[in-house]
Subunit: 229 residues, 2 copies
């Protein structure tokens, strides 16, 4: 976090570094203490910056809070779309590939710092800032879910899956992948790699029991119809 290598002087940081440092600290503190519980001095201390600097940058507490949420929303969305682009369109091993995808999604978008913070802030302050969080809803789930649904639709069309409603399937995929992490999320914890893998594995297996073809699509297309039980 803080590299104090110099013996007596504090290492100077640029304007931008301070800006970033304020965003980091504010995210942390708002998340930990809630908007009302957070105070500017705490954020300033955690950012290693004077209180006045925060007021110079952001005007007041509420503007700072809004900036944090916008920033987190953007970063999370970027991460989610980056992860969606790794969706297995031509899976070699459908189960393994979907499990790996679910794990990536969880690790890089849901359980990471930004994901955790954004989730917490939405849950905690969502009702107090309807317009801000309506914005999140549009930019977030409103765009990511259809994107995931489109990938599942493609997979189904290619014969790997048997899906009627890709939107429903996408939501259920995510719900199943997280099914065993709910309690941990509730309490603000971060599940370890093993829990994430477990939940993803169980979730994907169930998902494939519901929506999988009996055989891999490539095989199925070669051998035409064997239709086993």
């Amino acid at each position: 976090m803080k590299h104090d290598v110099s013996p007596d002087t504090i290492p100077p940081r640029s304007h931008e570094a301070k800006r970033a440092s304020i965003m980091d600290a504010a995210g942390e503190v708002f998340c930990r203490e809630s908007f009302a519980g957070a105070n500017i001095d705490m954020i300033a201390a955690e950012a290693g910056v004077s209180r006045q600097t925060i007021y110079n940058h952001h005007g007041d507490k509420e503007k700072l809070f809004v900036a944090i949420v916008r920033d987190l929303t953007e970063r999370c969305n970027a991460g989610i779309f980056a992860t969606i682009s790794t969706f297995p369109d031509q899976p070699k091993d459908l189960e393994a590939d979907l499990i790996a995808f679910a794990v990536r999604m969880n690790r890089n978008c849901i359980c990471n710092r930004d994901g955790k913070f954004l989730r917490k802030l939405i849950q905690t302050e969502g009702e107090r800032y309807p317009e801000l969080f309506a914005e999140w809803r549009e930019q977030g789930p409103g765009r990511t879910w259809p994107a995931i649904a489109a990938r599942f639709a493609r997979l189904a069309h290619a014969g790997f899956l048997d899906i009627e409603d890709p939107d429903v399937a996408a939501r259920q995929f995510l719900a199943l992948a997280n099914a065993e992490l709910q309690t941990t999320f509730m309490l603000g914890g971060t599940p370890d790699d093993d829990e994430v893998l477990q939940s993803a594995t169980h979730g994907v297996r169930t998902f494939l029991r519901a929506f999988g073809k009996r055989q891999p699509a490539a095989e199925a297309q070669k051998h035409s119809a064997l239709a086993g039980a």
Copy 2:
């Protein structure tokens, strides 16, 4: 004795009525404003009670908060166990019965006032009161999930379902039933009956595609083996 006919005076309420009224108002306010954002005057006003009365009953803000969480936990647990007792052990129409069960669970335990409040308080303040919420975890999910799992295990044993791990299946059942309510929950909203029914219907269908037998158990047992595709 108990005739409130007085025309111009505010109807007096008993000690116990005030106690309940404080609990109600405090739940509401803590939930809406978070612990730090809530203040005693607000609660007193909402409860129609003087501030001092709250201090008389509960000592201080933190003790009041703890009392609220304990109360909500208890009430929610009671509701969940009551609902679990309506689990369809001898289903006539497995899909319809499970959907109805999922709807009851959502309506009476997750989406109702107590469920919503408890969820919000756990999410918001969980990290600040580890021991209190550890208690919730034990009393809540720690006892309800196994109870639900046991019902699914029985259903599987009776030949209605094909389940390896009932604990996993139970968690996934709940996750699927709520899959389409996540965003609404996030923002603190209350889904209407139609959304609840939709989500439950889709969730249970997927659940049965994954874990259902091809035929109703009764039939399957009579006709022994037909094993259709």
